[in-house]
Each structure stands twice: as structure tokens, then as C-alpha cells.
């Protein structure tokens, strides 16, 4: 090897990523090239220094504790949570540690029946807080997906206004099947669709236009408490609308008038109730 080692080669050398053949050639070159040897040494020094400088931020103990509790409780969403857990949404100021202990002390003095009633109520509230936090995260994810689509300015993965083209495209890509409405509300057109992931599960992102407003309608299998119920939410000027039809979950997001968005969601929801054979 007569040429100097490239920056990529020097980096890979410092990272231990060269193949045996490349390493042999590099070693041979370094034996006779002081310049590259110096650079290789510098790469190693830089790597070591970056490794140290890069460990800069550490989560607060409260946040770590919160995450640990979230993980423990996340697997038992159907079970009520303990009153002292201080669950999501996360912000240290919202934690009720001292208040919880004081409340517990008062409850000890109260009658057994009163304590039971209060505990049931607290558990119910905290349980609903967890669902609310999950819902909030779900809405944010939906919003982010829609925003990414708008910001990306990329054509849909399946670019068609024909439902007979869009629906079959998902065969084998999603573990479920769904229908597209035969007729859409006034001034609404199908633009295409993308395969996406919601809560790490495959989902269809159907793209519509209502006038000049872009709409994403996500169709996925029902999973978790966050998206299983019907809900309406507003997020940063966008409206998010959730519906269910059997095992299918439908969530739409757009900045269009909520009533017009609801018309489209109703149409998609109604289509799920038709015989799949009819919609082909």
C-alpha cells in the first residue's frame, strides 16, 4: 500500500473494525509511514477522549425511579397501581410522595371501611392517570407520524387514488386486513398510503385530502389501553380522532375542521363493517 491511509481507514483502525486483510495492509503501511502512524495514534487518542467527554448527562434519581416504576407498572396496566407510586405523567413537581405518606397516616387512623374505600378510589385515579399518560404518548406518536409525512414531502409508498390498488398493497405487510370506503365524503380524495409502525406494531397510514388539508388515517390492530377506546384530542392545532371497529383501531389526524374529519372517520369505520369480499 503506497497511498496514505484514508480517514475512514484510520477511524476503522482505531475502532477495531478492519478485516484481517485490511489490518495486515494497514500495518504494513504504518511500519514505513510516520505521518499515518501519527494520525492513527491521534485517532485512538481522540476516540478515548470522546468516550470520556461523551458521558456528560445523567438522569436525576427521581427520573430514574420514575422510569423503574413505569416499567414495573407497565406490565400490569390492567391492575390498579399503588397509591404511593407517583406515576406518569412525569414531572418531579407533580409527585405526591410526602402528601401520600401523610394521607396514609391519616388513613391508618380511620376505620377499615373508610380506608378501603379511599384506597379503591386512589387506585382508580392512578390507574386512569396511567391510561391518560399512555393516551397522551399515543396521540403524540400519531401527531409525529403525521408531521413527519407532511415535512418529508415524499410521495406515498403506494401512490394511488384507487382503493382497489391501495388495499391489496398491504397484503402480507400487515397482520390484519381492512376495508377502504367505497364512497368518500364530499371534497375528500384518497392520495395513497404508507406502511408505518404504531406502538411498534405495523399499521396502515392512509393518506387523504379534504380540500387542501392533508389527513392521515392510521389503521391498526387494537392493542393496549391507549388506543383501544374512542377518543377526541387536540394536539398543537391538529385534531386527533380515535375509533374502533371490531379488532381494528382507526385513528385520524389533521388540521381540518373536526366535523369533516369525523365524516371521513365514520366512512372508514363503516367500511370495516362491510363484508371484506364486497370491498375487493
Amino acid at each position: 500500500m503506497t497511498d496514505h491511509l484514508s480517514a475512514s481507514m484510520l477511524s476503522a483502525l482505531a475502532d477495531g473494525e478492519l478485516s484481517a486483510e485490511q489490518l495486515s495492509a494497514a500495518s504494513e503501511h504504518l511500519e514505513g509511514c510516520a505521518s499515518c502512524t501519527t494520525s492513527a495514534l491521534h485517532q485512538s487518542l481522540l476516540k478515548a477522549a470522546t468516550a470520556k467527554a461523551g458521558v456528560r448527562y445523567a438522569p436525576s434519581p427521581q427520573f430514574q425511579e420514575h422510569l423503574t416504576q413505569m416499567v414495573a407498572e407497565g406490565f400490569s396496566a390492567s391492575e390498579p397501581l399503588d397509591a404511593s407510586s407517583g406515576t406518569s405523567p412525569w414531572r418531579p413537581g407533580r409527585r405526591v410522595g410526602l402528601l401520600g405518606w401523610a394521607t396514609a397516616a391519616v388513613l391508618l387512623l380511620a376505620s377499615l371501611s373508610t380506608m378501603l374505600v379511599q384506597r379503591i378510589r386512589q387506585r382508580s385515579e392512578i390507574g386512569s392517570e396511567v391510561v391518560s399518560a399512555e393516551r397522551s404518548a399515543f396521540v403524540t406518536e400519531i401527531f409525529d407520524r403525521h408531521l413527519a409525512m407532511l415535512a418529508g414531502s415524499l410521495p406515498p409508498e403506494v401512490l394511488s387514488t384507487d382503493r382497489h390498488t391501495v388495499k391489496p398493497w398491504f397484503q402480507g405487510k400487515t397482520p390484519f386486513s381492512f376495508n377502504l370506503p367505497e364512497s368518500l365524503p364530499n371534497n375528500t380524495t384518497l392520495d395513497g398510503a404508507n406502511l408505518t409502525y404504531l406502538q411498534n406494531q405495523p399499521a396502515a397510514q392512509l393518506l387523504f385530502s379534504i380540500g387542501k388539508h392533508r389527513v392521515s388515517v392510521f389503521v391498526a390492530q387494537k392493542a393496549g389501553a391507549a388506543g383501544s377506546d374512542e377518543f377526541d384530542a387536540d394536539h398543537s392545532g391538529f385534531h386527533v380522532l380515535g375509533r374502533t371497529a371490531g379488532d381494528i383501531q382507526i385513528v385520524a389526524v389533521s388540521d381540518v375542521d373536526p366535523a369533516r374529519l369525523a365524516d371521513l372517520v365514520d366512512a372508514v369505520e363503516l367500511a370495516q363493517k362491510t363484508d371484506p369480499k364486497e370491498s375487493r
Binding site: 495514534l41 477522549a49 422510569l67 416499567v71 399512555e134 409525529d144 408531521l147
Partner: protein
């Protein structure tokens, strides 16, 4: 027979729970560190990590036991960051720069001889000993270069793992790491010059 990830049998709840905790808890500090570097403020970093953990919790059934959990959860973090508002803004900001760099790489020589630092190791040691200077240089890196250098040097991931996390080819990982280190060297050189001017 290949089984699709979402069709895999659901494991028992208790083993799943302890499995996730065992794998995820030790990674919280690392996830937070990367999240903070990318988001640049504690509130967004906490939100990013919390959302990542929530997504990982929900998607853990689709995680293949025995595969690389660290790469899996870091990929979730990175994708969550990309679709966040700060991530989208950062992507738009660096898109042009990234494009230009890629274009310049298409020439015959990726890095001309003059671009490679040939200074003495002693001078390099002086610069690298200044942790604050290096951190300032890292802050100046565009997100695509910062994330790759953090995954490589701080998280000690192999190029193959980084390619999985970032969903880019190995060759791109290599070139980004080299570019990141070149940029760091340039920043450090500039920083040292400024420091000397002030002290003179």
C-alpha cells in the same frame, strides 16, 4: 419456516416483565445521555426517554430473545427523536449540509491528504485533555455526525450495530465517523488557537 415478528408466540407475563427490566434498567443512563445530547435540554431528554421506554414496553413482545436489545432500544430512541419536533427541526437544518458532504465524498478521494491532521501527538494530547473544549466541539457537530460518534465511542457499539440503530449502510457509518472525527479535530484546532490568542 420464517415467522413474522408480530406472529411470534406471546411469552409469559412474568418472564417478559423480569426480562425487560433486566435488559432495560441498566440502559436508562445511556439512553438519557444520548437523548440529552440530541435534544439539548433536560425536559425534552426526559420526554424522549420516557416515550422510548413506553414504546419499548409495548413492543417488547416483538423483540426477538437473544438478539441485540441495546441496538433495538437505541433504535427506538433514535426513531422517536427523529419524529419529535426537535428532531424534525434538526433534520431540516442539516439536510443541505449532509447532502453537500455526501456529494463531495463522491469524488476520487474522500479525504485529501491536506484534510488529515498531521500534527504532533503532544499537541493533540494538550487539546484532548481539555474536556470542556472537546464537549464544545461535540456540541457543534450536526446530529447525524454526533449520534454516530456517541454510539461508536461512548456506547462502544460495532459498526454493524450502529448501522442497525441508524438504519443506514455500514459504509455510511464509516464515512460519518471519519467525518465526525475530522470535524472534531478542526473544532479543537480552532478552539486551541482562540485560547492561545486570549492568553497571549
Amino acid at each position: 419456516m420464517t415467522v413474522l415478528p408480530w406472529k411470534r408466540a406471546v411469552r409469559r407475563k412474568n418472564s417478559r416483565e423480569s426480562g425487560f427490566e433486566d435488559l432495560a434498567l441498566p440502559l436508562f443512563p445511556a439512553l438519557y445521555n444520548l437523548a440529552f445530547w440530541l435534544a439539548r435540554n433536560p425536559t425534552d431528554a426526559e420526554d424522549l426517554v420516557q416515550e422510548t421506554v413506553l414504546k419499548a414496553l409495548r413492543g417488547f413482545a416483538s423483540f426477538e430473545p437473544g438478539s441485540n436489545f441495546k441496538a433495538w432500544i437505541f433504535r427506538i430512541l433514535r426513531n422517536t427523536y427523529l419524529t419529535s419536533r426537535t428532531g424534525l427541526a434538526a433534520r431540516r437544518t442539516v439536510a443541505l449540509e449532509d447532502e453537500l458532504n455526501d456529494r463531495s465524498e463522491s469524488g476520487t478521494s474522500l479525504y485529501p491528504e491536506g484534510a488529515i491532521d498531521r500534527e504532533t501527538p503532544e499537541l493533540n494530547l494538550v487539546r484532548l485533555a481539555d474536556r470542556a473544549l472537546l464537549q464544545a466541539a461535540m456540541e457543534k457537530l450536526p446530529p447525524p455526525l454526533l449520534e454516530v460518534i456517541l454510539l461508536c465511542d461512548v456506547e462502544e457499539m460495532k459498526y454493524r450495530e450502529i448501522a442497525t440503530v441508524l438504519d443506514i449502510p455500514m459504509g455510511t457509518v464509516m464515512s460519518r465517523i471519519a467525518r465526525a472525527r475530522t470535524a472534531l479535530r478542526e473544532s479543537l484546532t480552532a478552539g486551541l488557537t482562540t485560547t492561545r490568542e486570549f492568553s497571549a
